[in-house]
């Protein structure tokens, strides 16, 4: 399948979804006004990937800022990964946050509490 690579902007994150080398990363800032529009491409990609997933899938998130409209889109994204995991696939999510950033750590905990998929918080 085609990889999805999106270069970062001041309001949107860098996205690397490369099934060939098994790298799935979203990093930087996610503060667009139209979060739904931005995340649709990613959600569609995951739907496609879910048809023929790799033996193991680790999604890494390393966000500096994200707005509340992105937070709902991120949950939608996590739900798709949760669904893939429940289908028997080896799926995990890594939530990286700056060691100083209590808010980002706390938001990671919020997601972890809502999800039934391996969700690891990593302080960096």
């Amino acid at each position: 399948m085609r990889n999805l690579i999106i270069e970062p902007t001041p309001k949107t994150p860098k996205v690397i979804l490369n099934a060939d080398i098994n790298v799935f990363e979203v990093s930087g800032r996610s503060i667009p006004e139209d979060s739904v529009g931005f995340y649709r491409k990613i959600l569609d990609w995951i739907d496609e990937y879910s048809k023929t997933p790799n033996p193991s899938t680790n999604f890494k998130f390393q966000l500096e800022y994200f707005n509340t409209s992105s937070s709902k889109c991120l949950l939608d994204l996590f739900r798709k990964l949760e669904k893939l995991a429940k289908g028997g696939q080896d799926v995990s999510i890594t939530w990286c946050y700056d060691a100083d950033d209590e808010d980002m750590a706390e938001t990671g905990e919020d997601y972890k509490a809502l999800l039934d998929v391996s969700f690891e918080l990593v302080s960096i």
Binding site: P10, K11, E33, D34, S35, Y65, K72, L75, D103, D110
Partner: protein
């Protein structure tokens, strides 16, 4: 005239003020400028992040509100697509203040939501945030109804607000978020 504006802003510790239409590009520009200022002032990284987060939510809240507001051509002196955006910096706190017109019939609903958020302690805000995140349908504009809760959580303080009656149709709604510098 100019001097009185200057003195007024200085005495009220206002470091940024804007009045007019709010576009996505304007929000980007303000965020960029304020981020540079926070960096230039050598503000603590944690405080800087909180201020930035609160600015994003407050400014985008106004942007989405105005984007969805009905236009009212011929409405005389009120242009409900413009807003006031202010940022203040005092010795102990940053302030992010927004003001925009809202229809009078929307006041009660908004006031209830604000009062509900202000009544919550830290743990209750966390629970409310998770509940709305999990259950709330995203509105068309992508404002998940989480903005006010997020501002209260990140600022760690009560939200200040006011509804100033303008006429039979409108009031001027102002929202004030305070972020402690300590």
């Amino acid at each position: 005239m100019t001097y009185s504006y200057y003195k007024n802003m200085q005495q009220n510790n206002i470091i940024f003020v804007y009045q007019g239409e709010v576009t996505a590009d304007l929000v980007s520009s303000i965020l960029h400028m304020m981020e540079n200022k926070l960096d230039g002032d050598g503000e603590d990284k944690k405080i800087k992040k909180k201020v930035f987060n609160v600015m994003v939510e407050c400014l985008q809240n106004v942007y989405h509100h105005l984007d969805s507001a009905d236009t009212t051509p011929g409405d005389g002196e009120i242009n409900d697509r413009t807003a006031l955006l202010m940022i203040g910096k005092e010795a102990s706190d940053y302030y992010v203040i927004t003001g925009n017109h809202i229809y009078n019939d929307r006041i009660n609903n908004l006031k209830d939501r604000l009062d509900k958020v202000n009544k919550c302690d830290k743990d209750e805000l966390k629970a409310l945030y998770q509940a709305i995140l999990n259950d709330g349908e995203l509105s068309e504009k992508g404002t998940a109804g989480l903005g006010m809760i997020d501002i209260a959580r990140k600022s760690g303080q009560k939200l200040g607000y006011d509804f100033h009656p303008v006429n039979d149709q409108y009031s001027f709604f102002s929202l004030e978020a305070k972020i402690s510098r300590n």
